[in-house]
């Protein structure tokens, strides 16, 4: 019982700190994990000092890191939606989230995201055992998925182009010509961003702080965050009155459940595939789902949170680390492989995940409600400039001059679909391109 209470306290502390860090735009949870690992001895001493001695300090600090990483995935929707300033994992959520803000339903996006993230935690914990069976059970199931993933991703990318609904070109053109033009433009943009994505890993980034530079920070920041803010500035966008009431009929259950399932499935799949990150998962899920803005927010929020939980499960199954947070946990707490019954420490982490999710959901909704009221009192134009300056400073500190160049190109690319009048999901080529190139040699029998 004492262990249970200690775990709940860890969840509370982790939720509070994770929610605080999640509010900082552009701060990725992996960056946070590096800092947490460095501070682990201090954290252990603090927890022991607080009387949390019912379980080994390593387990409690690892649970604390898990709680922070989960809470972070809840709250990062707030800067992504209200400020248009995402981190890597919430980059795609800027699109529907910011659109909802400009329609007066920004709080609804945050509210739905918090609910979806907690539903994803519950679903992921519940699915851990079937997931283990799926991976460690009949090998043909997993192997066939892995073998055909290239074709699946390629089909999704082509589908993304084929389903482009907005016609492009002068109104005098025939409708079929305008529709064909929109598909050609979407394909061109997809190819251009794929090329941009392939170049990202080859550039000489320099971090001014002792944290490894991440190429996705300037790229996604420019494509999705910076371009959104710049478009708002050029168009002189104003935040309309924000509705604080969220009703059940805002999203249909028949739309929400498949949206959530797509998010959890993408998060789980990406936790296993080497070379693919949860940013890739959000790109896949965004392409897979073509629902309303509300449904897209549900999917993208579920991906990140489910991925955080499944990364931990994969550590127990294969001893493999798929995120900075799990690397930190592995260093803090020795993990025995999961054979047969669920390991007791994994159950403890499951309890922490659910409790953290519940607390983070309430905190996210609370902060979201407060922030949306505050944001209406601030001149939006000044706020947009301030956020853009903050993003440029972050890019400069974490990736240096090469990162600034990547950010600038991302801004230009990100503004293109808005000016062309097509969906910005074509920009996901930046993630899908490297994924396809990564999977192609095995799928095409080239090695």
């Amino acid at each position: 019982m004492t262990v249970f209470l200690d775990l709940l306290l860890i969840a509370l502390l982790g939720a509070l700190l994770g929610c605080a860090t999640g509010l900082l735009p552009s701060l990725h949870v992996n960056t946070l994990a590096v800092l947490l690992l460095a501070a682990a001895p201090l954290l252990g001493a603090v927890l022991v000092g607080m009387g949390l001695v019912s379980a080994p300090a390593g387990l409690l600090v690892a649970a604390f890191v898990l709680a922070i990483s989960i809470a972070h995935t809840f709250v990062n929707i707030i800067p992504a939606t209200y400020l248009g300033a995402p981190d890597e994992t919430s980059a795609l959520a800027v699109l529907p989230g910011h659109q909802m803000l400009l329609r007066g339903t920004g709080f609804r996006a945050v509210h739905l995201s918090a609910l979806a993230s907690q539903a994803a935690v519950l679903a992921s914990v519940a699915l851990a055992v079937p997931f283990q069976w799926w991976l460690a059970g009949p090998p043909s199931v997993w192997e066939s998925v892995r073998a055909n993933l290239f074709w699946f991703v390629l089909a999704l990318a082509l589908l993304l182009v084929a389903l482009e609904p907005n016609p492009v070109g002068p109104a005098s053109w025939p409708k079929t010509t305008r529709q064909a033009a929109s598909k050609a433009v979407a394909l061109g943009l997809l190819a251009l961003t794929a090329l941009y994505g392939l170049l990202l890993d080859e550039l000489p980034y320099r971090s001014l702080v002792p944290v490894p530079p991440s190429p996705l920070l300037p790229a996604l920041g420019g494509l999705f965050g910076g371009a959104t803010i710049l478009t708002s500035l050029v168009d002189n966008a104003k935040i309309p009155h924000q509705f604080l009431r969220v009703r059940h009929r805002d999203i249909r259950l028949s739309g929400a459940v498949p949206a959530l399932a797509a998010g959890v499935a993408a998060g789980a799949t990406m936790s296993v595939l080497p070379g693919l990150t949860n940013a890739s998962a959000t790109a896949l899920a965004a392409t897979l789902r073509r629902g309303t803005n509300e449904e897209t927010v549900v999917t993208l929020s579920a991906v990140n949170t489910a991925n955080a939980v499944f990364n931990l499960v994969v550590l127990y199954l294969f001893g493999r680390t798929r995120s900075g947070a799990v690397v930190a946990m592995k260093d803090l707490w020795p993990v025995d492989p999961w054979f047969g019954t669920v390991p007791a420490d994994l159950l403890a982490f499951g309890v922490v995940a659910i409790a953290t999710g519940l607390l983070s959901m309430l905190i996210t909704i609370g902060i979201g409600r407060y922030a949306v009221r505050s944001i209406q009192r601030v001149p939006y134009r000044a706020l947009s400039w301030a956020v853009l300056a903050y993003m440029i400073a972050t890019v400069c500190v974490f990736t240096g001059a090469a990162g600034l160049l990547v950010f600038a190109v991302g801004l230009a690319l990100g503004a293109l679909p808005v000016r062309l009048g097509i969906r910005r999901v074509a920009l996901t080529g930046v993630l899908l391109g490297p994924v396809l190139v990564y999977l192609a040699p095995a799928a095409l029998g080239l090695r």
């Binding site: 251009l192 000489p204 190109v409 293109l416």
Partner: protein
């Protein structure tokens, strides 16, 4: 409107071309394994001998890269077929994990074979007679496993013996005659030589 759009498209294409030129022009620096610490967070080129290669589920390949003085763990996100003892050059990112420098490479395209290992058999006696000429090299030798105190040794029939460290080789009972592929290491702390066994194959008992 149309000119703004054209300008944006032009800026995007020119920007990507500039990034491509930058990526091509900037070749990662050549760094010895012992100086990797100063390059954490960047991509470098380095070289060393492959030790203890293992392929895990999903295609991950882990191995050690050694230059005789420093041994650094390396991970490839894609499967690579490696032979212990081969000298290879890699282009990889230097990362710090739990205060330890590691290398991470994308796949086979980032690894080039410089010199394959020559499978010459070196008797234990010759290793011990001229240890400095074999220091930090990868050798094939043979002998019987013996536990003396708590430490495992490899002992030849002529009585010459070397302290061994079992790398990825499976444990064998005492007295087993083995043909081993191993790295011959000098341990400065004890001023002695050791064999780190990477691959072992039982030999038939002599009649």
């Amino acid at each position: 409107m149309a000119s703004g759009l054209a300008l944006l498209a032009l800026a995007s294409i020119a920007g990507i071309a500039l990034l491509g030129a930058l990526a091509t022009a900037v070749e990662p620096p050549e760094v010895p394994l012992s100086e990797l610490q100063a390059h954490v967070g960047t991509t470098v080129r380095t070289q060393g001998r492959v030790l203890e290669p293992r392929v895990y589920d999903g295609g991950f390949t882990r191995f050690l890269l050694s230059d005789g003085n420093r041994t650094v763990p390396a991970t490839s996100r894609e499967e690579i077929t490696l032979t212990p003892g081969d000298t290879v050059a890699v282009k990889a990112r230097a990362l710090e994990n739990a205060h330890r420098v590691e290398l991470e490479l994308d796949g086979p395209a980032n690894l080039h074979l410089i010199q394959p290992w020559r499978e010459d058999h070196v008797p234990l006696r010759r290793l011990l007679e001229t240890p400095w000429s074999y220091r930090a090299s990868f050798v094939r030798t043979s002998g019987s496993l013996q536990t003396i105190g708590h430490a495992p040794w490899l002992e030849a029939e002529d009585g010459s013996r070397v302290h061994v460290i079992r790398g990825t080789a499976p444990p064998e009972p005492d007295g087993t005659r083995l043909l081993v592929d191993a790295e011959f290491l000098y341990e400065a702390a004890t001023a002695s030589f050791r064999l780190r066994i990477d691959r072992a194959e039982p030999l038939p008992d002599r009649p």
